[in-house]
Structure formats: C-alpha cells, structure tokens
C-alpha cells in the first residue's frame, strides 16, 4: 500500500511537472467549462426549473468525461514514443501508473468545480457543501476508471493510434447526450430513454444532481456510486491486464 501511494505520487508529479513549469495550458483548460456554463446556462434559464442547480453538475460530469479521455491521448504519444515502455520496465506499481496519470485531470476537475461554484453562487446557485464533497469524490472515482479505460484503448490502438480517435470520438458524444447532461431525457422517446438507462453516465449524472441539491439519501446517489465504482474497477482490471499481456 505504501508503495502504491508513493508510486501514485511519482506518476502524478511527473504528469504535473510540465504544467507547473508552464501553467498557461492548464489555466486555459481550467477556464474552459466557464464558457459552457455561461453560453448554455443562460439559454437554459427558466427552461428547467432552477437551471444552475441542474446544469452545474452536468458540466462537471462532462469535464470528467473529456479530461480522462484526453489523458489517453498523451499516453498514446508516450506509447508510440517509447517512454511508456521505459516506465513499464521499472518496478513502478501498475495500478499507480493508471491512477497517478488521471489524478492530474482530477486536480483540474477540482479546480474547475471550485471556479464554477464561485461564479454560479451570485447567480442563484445554492450551496450544499457535504453533497458537493461527496459528488466530487464520486467523480474522482469515475474519472480514474475512465482514465484507465482510455489507457487500455490507447494500448489497443498503438502504434497507429487511429482506433483511439475513432473509438473515443464516437463514444464520447453518445455517452454525453444519452446521459441527460445537456438536455433532460424526460421528454425523450422510449427507445432513447432505454438507451439512457444502460448508459452508466446517466446514473452518475442523476447522482450528481441529487448530491448538488443536497439530497444525500436519494437512491440515485447509491446507483451513481455503484456505477462510478464499477467503471473504476473495470478500468483498473483491464488496464492491469493489458500491461501484463505486453505492449
């Protein structure tokens, strides 16, 4: 366990060092959701009740999807370049390798969360601190799983990389749209709602909305947590297996 924590820190520090040395890119990344929030949020105002309460968690889930999927891209570059191979010959803990990489994105997500909330507060956003903490914790677990899955996808698509773009691009938007992140699925036709129900992201989104509304005992919180843990377990299992099988 100590090794795992130390190695996670090693991987995280490595990933974070370039951003620390030149934070321009990181600042842009962190500011990006604000754009979404204000462009879409204002449009939605009045359409879905208290729109901020509904929209902020949605934006966060969206960020949580795009961040780790982007992490797979940087990994793909390292796989093709040879630095991943170098790291795989070291005794570095394999799970730490998966988790540490995504933690950088999770740190970005955390900052984004704080920023969004600060900006949404004067616009009528209601603050439920415990709910938000739980929501963020859930997103971190979910993000680690997604990061690991994108890692597996990167391994499968090396050395060409085409598969990675095809799959990640064709998965991202259906996952987002079918989860009710941007628009509610309540008025959707039956088949679309069924599709939404098999989408794990839907449960995360519902749970996030409940938590952000301070509704900690809502059953959707339980489903969302289960979905997040399931994705994390699957991602870490497949990621470890992919590394064991050789890259």
């Amino acid at each position: 366990m100590m090794t795992f924590l130390r190695d996670t820190r090693t991987v995280f520090s490595r990933e974070f060092a370039p951003a620390r040395r030149d934070p321009t890119g990181l600042l842009f990344e962190m500011g990006q959701p604000l754009l979404f929030l204000f462009l879409f949020g204002s449009l939605l105002d009045g359409a879905v009740g208290s729109s901020w309460q509904w929209f902020v968690p949605g934006i966060l889930v969206m960020m949580c999807l795009t961040g780790p999927m982007g992490a797979g891209y940087t990994l793909l570059v390292e796989l093709i370049g040879g630095s991943m191979e170098r790291l795989l010959v070291t005794p570095l803990n394999r799970t730490a390798m998966l988790v540490g990489r995504t933690l950088k994105d999770m740190l970005v997500l955390l900052t984004q969360t704080v920023l969004i909330i600060l900006l949404a507060l004067p616009l009528g956003f209601q603050l439920y601190p415990v709910g938000i903490l739980l929501a963020v914790a859930q997103l971190v677990v979910f993000g680690v799983g997604l990061g690991a899955l994108s890692f597996v996808l990167a391994i499968k698509s090396a050395p060409g990389g085409t598969l990675f773009y095809i799959v990640s691009q064709s998965i991202l938007f259906p996952l987002l749209l079918l989860s009710g992140v941007l628009l509610p699925l309540d008025t959707a036709p039956g088949w679309l709602r069924v599709a939404g129900q098999v989408n794990p992201v839907t449960y995360i989104v519902d749970a996030q909305r409940a938590l952000f509304a301070g509704d900690l005992v809502n059953p959707s919180v339980l489903y969302g947590t289960a979905a997040a843990c399931g994705v994390a377990a699957l991602g870490l299992y497949l990621g470890n297996r992919a590394m064991r099988r050789g890259v």
Binding site: R6, P18, G81, S83, E85, L88, V89, P91, V247
Partner: protein, 313 residues
C-alpha cells in the same frame, strides 16, 4: 545472470501464429558483454522484451538476475536496466525531471533521486541539457539520456536494444565509449542487440547470432569466424590459364583471374602459398589475405547475407 530454457513467443497475426522466438536456450554469466546479432525480424527484440518483462513468454522459462520473468516480474524489474529501441524520455518532460522520476520509480527518495540524476548528468555529459526538452536534443544526446535513464538504479544487468542505430559514426563511438567505461567501472553485465556487424565484432566478447527465432551460433567473434568462415588467401594472376593452374596446384576456386583459397591462418600461409605457385611458374600479380567477417559466418550458416534486408517470413 540470465538462464533461459525453451523460451518461446508466438504472435497471433491475422489469425495466423507467427513464432518470433522458438525455444531459446541461453546462459549469460555475470560480467559478460553479449551482443544478439541478426537480421531485422530475427527475434532479437522480442527476446529482449521477454527478458525485460515487457512481454510474457508463450512458453519456456527465463531466469533473469535470479528471478523468474513470469512468476516474479517485479523482482526482475528492480534488478535490471533497459534502454529500448526508441526514446525513453517523454517529450513533455525536461531532461533532469525525467531522470528524477526514473529514480523515484525505482524507489529512491526524492533526495536520492535528485543526487543520482545530477551524478548521471555529469557522467554522461548531459549537464548543460538538464532543463531542455528531449525534442531539442540531438540523436546522440538523446541516446545518452536513454542510457542515463537505464542506469539510474545502478543495475547489475543492463539491456540495450539497438543502442547505436541511427546515429552518426561519431555519436556511435561516443555511446560506446560510455558503455565500455560503465562496464569497466561497475562490471555491469551488458546484453545488447545490434544489426551492425562491425559493432558486434569489435565490441562484444560474445556474439549470439539469431535467425528466424533461433540461436544459430554462439561464441566469441574470433571463434565464430575461425570455425564457421575461416581465412582466405586471394591472389590474382595475369592470365586465366594461370588461374586455372593455380587451382589445380593449390586448390581453391577461380573467378576470372582471381583465385580464392580457404586456409586456417592466411597471414602465415601466404608466403608458402606464393612460393609454391612461383615454383610452378605461375605469375602472381597481386596477393592478399582475407579475414572473415561475421557476415561470412552468417552466410555460411544460412546461405543469406546479413546485409540483405529481405527476411523469409
């Protein structure tokens, strides 16, 4: 240091099985400098990737640095260094940062990793490049960085996959200077792959020739050349008739006015050879001794030249 028995790796390519490495038996003792020589696709890199735990063997056994690669890959990893065919340093990371990260990967404390990184920057003449990104380095500099990364934990055994490929002659010589110095200073066991004949010939104490996933020859370059190719005397005569008479008298084969004879020690045999021909009135225009190359060895063994790039599938 390395003991393998029946080490085999099969790849599935489009539902067909391709045996990249077939039943490799290899023993490398501590302190040796071994070169795997063979054409592209011979299985050199696949062997190295199995020995360094990057690729699980399909069957067979391999003990590396006293640990089993299949049962205790982490144990193997802690004891070996690896310099891959490609660049080990990530493009987004500064030279020194990558060295420190590498140290941390092997369990050094932050302080130890920093100290060791500086030591290696110094040792491999990389100090002025510490804050640069790998993309801004020359090929030779990048290779030195790769070697520094492989040495961070002072491994007893270092694998190098084509360490000098793609470098200009000066950088190649430079890389070798570092590799040999390292060996002298620490007695590191070195296992490397190369497809440069001269390199295997001049640098390695032991050459393992691999072709089609099998070891086809194993020994010092001298042994291999003497046993499997041998010296030649080559003379040219003024007329083709003389060439034919020379063959009748002292053996060998003629090609135009050139006659080649295989002998155990060409330099010692040449004077006698010339006296014999001269005694029979054959006019010899030029005479030279030819030492075999490892390519001749490969040619004798496989009927192909190592410099031919087409490999049978």
């Amino acid at each position: 240091m390395i003991h393998t028995r029946g080490l085999t790796r099969v790849f599935k390519v489009k539902k067909q099985s391709v045996e990249a490495v077939r039943g490799l038996d290899l023993d490398v003792e501590a302190g040796q400098l071994v070169a795997f020589l063979g054409p592209n696709g011979a299985g050199k890199s696949t062997t190295l990737r199995m020995l360094t735990t990057l690729l699980p063997p399909t069957s067979g056994q391999a003990m590396v640095a006293g640990r089993d690669v299949a049962r205790d890959p982490a144990g193997v990893r802690a004891r070996i260094g690896y310099v891959g065919q490609q660049n080990g340093a990530g493009e987004n990371f500064r030279v020194r940062d990558e060295l420190v990260t590498q140290g941390r990967c092997y369990g050094l404390t932050v302080r130890q990793a920093n100290a060791r990184a500086d030591e290696l920057l110094d040792l491999l003449d990389l100090k002025p490049l510490a804050k640069r990104l790998p993309g801004t380095l020359s090929g030779g500099q990048r290779r030195r960085l790769d070697i520094a990364l492989g040495l961070i934990h002072r491994p007893d055994l270092l694998f190098l996959d084509e360490p000098s490929t793609g470098l200009d002659p000066k950088s190649r010589a430079d890389i070798w200077r570092h590799i040999l110095r390292l060996r002298e200073a620490y007695g590191t066991t070195l296992v490397l792959t190369t497809h440069y004949l001269e390199e295997a010939d001049s640098m390695a104490e032991r050459v393992v020739i691999i072709d089609n996933g099998r070891i086809i020859a194993d020994g010092t370059a001298e042994q291999l050349k003497n046993d499997l190719a041998g010296d030649h005397i080559s003379i040219t005569t003024t007329t083709e008739q003389d060439a034919a008479r020379a063959v009748a008298l002292a053996g060998g084969t003629a090609e135009g006015t050139t006659v080649r004879v295989k002998v155990p020690n060409a330099a010692a045999a040449l004077p006698d050879h010339l006296r014999t021909l001269d005694g029979s009135g054959i006019k010899v225009a030029t005479a030279e001794t030819i030492r075999p190359t490892l390519d001749d060895v490969f040619l004798t063994l496989t009927g192909r030249s190592l410099t031919d790039d087409d490999i049978p599938a």
